[in-house]
């Protein structure tokens, strides 16, 4: 046991499992991506050469990069507030004493427990022109429907809609858990003071849910830059990159076009962007949040 006598040795041993995992799967890949982004694309005849920031300069001139970045911004703006708002609304609803609320909770949560690929296939059927569920319902009503996934104007929004549908139930569970830790006495105290349910929600419930909101927000932002699987099944980024997002573009670059240095450069930009967002969220919002 002499070896444990040294506090530093013991400390390092205790954190080593986490450090090994993080270094192997997070930090080393990030650094190695950064390094390979500084090299040119090699082939058997011409090995990779150091090109400095050439990959990043090329990125600035790559119209597809700007398209997928814009798509991703639209996608984030379309999914994050809507799914969080919907999650909060559903949580407040099923937190009340309704008959059959256990069933309702399950129903709202179901999209989350379904496998992504299966979900995407179901929605693929919904969106299919002519024989899809949407067209079957809307066409007889005389509504002229577009080719949801095939039209550059609607493809991205079709995917946004699925994401909201899927994420809201997941986020609802966090809100519901937070709501249920709230003492019912708070509501009663406010009621005796004459506060309306609306006032109570905005002055008490919502501020007390802020830690949950921050957590959910961070998750939602990360998810919005992480989406690959739906696009795979539904649109493959098309038509004409109208529904391609950054991560899908990175995937295509690396594994369809086999341009790994450029994919590495894209990855570094994405990482930097997400790190910046996380800093803003934790740095700015954290100060205004009450933790119990």
């Amino acid at each position: 046991m002499r070896i444990f006598g040294n506090r530093h040795v013991l400390g390092w041993l205790l954190i080593s499992p986490a450090v090994i995992l993080l270094v192997t799967f997070t930090h080393y890949p990030s650094i190695s991506s950064f390094i390979s982004s500084l090299f040119s694309r090699g082939n058997p005849i011409r090995p990779a050469q150091f090109v400095g920031t050439d990959q990043y300069t090329a990125m600035m001139q790559d119209p597809v990069f700007w398209t997928v970045l814009e798509n991703n911004m639209i996608y984030a703006a379309g999914t994050i507030p809507a799914s969080i708002g919907l999650a909060l609304l559903m949580a407040v609803l099923v937190d009340q004493m309704l008959p059959g609320r256990a069933f309702l909770r399950l129903a709202y949560f179901t999209p989350t427990i379904l496998p992504m690929i299966a979900v995407a296939n179901i929605w693929l059927f919904f969106y299919t022109p002519e024989i899809g569920l949407l067209d079957q319902v809307l066409r007889p009503l005389g509504i002229d429907t577009p080719n949801w996934l095939g039209d550059p104007d609607t493809a991205l929004w079709a995917i946004i809609f699925i994401t909201i549908w899927k994420e809201a139930g997941f986020f609802m569970i966090f809100y519901l858990a937070a709501l249920q830790t709230q003492s019912p006495e708070l509501k009663e105290a406010a009621k005796l003071e004459g506060a309306s349910p609306f006032t109570f929600f905005w002055r008490i419930t919502f501020p007390l849910l802020m830690p949950t909101t921050l957590f959910v927000l961070v998750n939602a932002v990360l998810n919005s830059f992480k989406l690959v699987d739906h696009i795979f099944i539904l649109t493959k980024g098309g038509p004409n990159n109208a529904s391609s997002l950054i991560l899908y573009y990175i995937y295509e670059t690396a594994f369809s076009f086999f341009d790994t240095p450029y994919a590495a450069a894209l990855t570094i930009v994405l990482l930097a962007f997400l790190a910046l967002l996380a800093l803003i969220q934790f740095g700015v919002l954290e100060k205004r949040i009450h933790y119990r």
């Binding site: 006495e185 009663e188 009621k191 005796l192 003071e193 004459g194 506060a195 119990r292």
Partner: protein, 354 residues
């Protein structure tokens, strides 16, 4: 006008037996009434029905001559202190105290004046910017009190407000709450399971048992004239000795009718030459007094001796008391020797043993 009249109050959840079953009592303006009882006796439910947080199954609640059974909780003119204080954890002390006034749109100037007055009254002036998590239990309790003070409602309801505090703090808060109630002339209903709080604070005690009023009296009458064996055993520490007549009934208790029970307070029992003989089962030394638990046949008599007693466990002793200290109860546990009876049927019956 803030006299409270509760008549025939009933609360029933679904088809289950009523948790409150025909409770009636009155609280005079500016007085403090304690609803006392064990857990599940319905005392908190009654308070919640008066406040409007719980619907009334049947019966009536009048506050200041106005029937409030169908009036919204916020319009009944009551404020309430909750067991866990119900402070809003993200708001400062000042914001907590002012929450109700802001909701009711009291002008800022008036609001701040009331805040300063209340904060000074309960000694919170230095802590107004703190969050509840930074306060001690007693300070949180004071915030809850200040919140009811600024509301300036004539009626104040308290639901076991001291049960989360330690014994020492509880004693000082008892005096503080009672002092506030009297200084502000509040009409107060105070729910507790702690008989010490009831005895020390109340003008009137309503003792509840299984959803019904067991006795309604001043603390002194409750102690001196318990209306039933339930009351006798609930109030007092140790509880009153309530004895069945055994084969060798002592000579000094003549007139002990078959089936009746004889009650006597532990402090009235003395060790004598003649009376009920038994063996000391255990001895509780409490400093200022000693309680002997004497086994007499299959019954136990508690006997309170001043100071330290020389009697040891296993000693043979004989218990007796002055015959006029006996409280008589009949087969059903109802008091048979005089005033303050809960059941009208027992009124005017013979004063046995007096």
């Amino acid at each position: 006008m803030s006299r409270i009249v509760v008549e025939n109050l009933v609360k029933q959840f679904g088809d289950a037996a009523p948790v409150v079953n025909g409770v009636s009592f009155e609280v005079e303006e500016g007085t403090l009434t304690v609803l006392l009882g064990g857990s599940g006796c319905g005392k908190s439910t009654i308070l919640r029905m008066i406040s409007g947080l719980e619907d009334i199954t049947s019966g009536s609640v009048k506050i200041g001559e106005r029937e409030v059974a169908n009036v919204d909780a916020s319009k009944r003119g009551v404020s309430m202190v909750f067991q866990n204080y119900a402070l809003f954890p993200h708001l400062s002390v000042a914001e907590n105290i002012l929450f109700g006034l802001k909701v009711r749109k009291v002008p800022t100037e008036e609001r701040n004046k009331r805040l300063m007055d209340a904060a000074e009254l309960v000694g919170l002036d230095e802590l107004l910017e703190r969050k509840p998590a930074q306060l001690s239990g007693g300070q949180r309790q004071r915030v809850a009190l200040a919140r009811t003070i600024v509301a300036q409602q004539p009626v104040c309801l308290m639901d076991e407000p001291l049960s989360n505090l330690d014994a020492k703090l509880r004693a000082s808060m008892r005096a503080e709450i009672r002092g506030l109630q009297q200084r502000l002339g509040l009409t107060m209903i105070y729910v507790t399971h702690d008989q010490v709080e009831a005895m020390t604070m109340a003008d009137q005690v309503v003792l509840l048992n299984e959803g019904k009023v067991a006795q309604m009296a001043s603390p002194a009458d409750l102690y001196d004239w318990p209306a039933s064996t339930y009351v006798a055993k609930f109030v007092g520490s140790p509880p009153m000795n309530v004895l069945k007549r055994s084969a060798n009934a002592p000579a000094f208790l003549k007139n002990w009718e078959a089936g009746w029970r004889a009650g006597v307070r532990a402090e009235d029992v003395i060790l004598a030459d003649e009376g009920l003989s038994g063996v000391v089962d255990s001895v509780d030394y409490l400093g200022s007094e000693t309680i002997l638990w004497v086994a007499v046949g299959d019954q136990t008599i508690a006997c309170k001796m001043p100071g330290r007693s020389t009697v040891k466990v296993g000693d043979d002793v004989t218990c007796a008391w002055q015959v006029e200290k006996t409280h008589w109860f009949d087969e059903t546990g109802v008091r048979r020797d005089g005033v303050q009876t809960a059941s009208p049927t027992s009124q005017g019956s013979v004063s046995q043993g007096m």
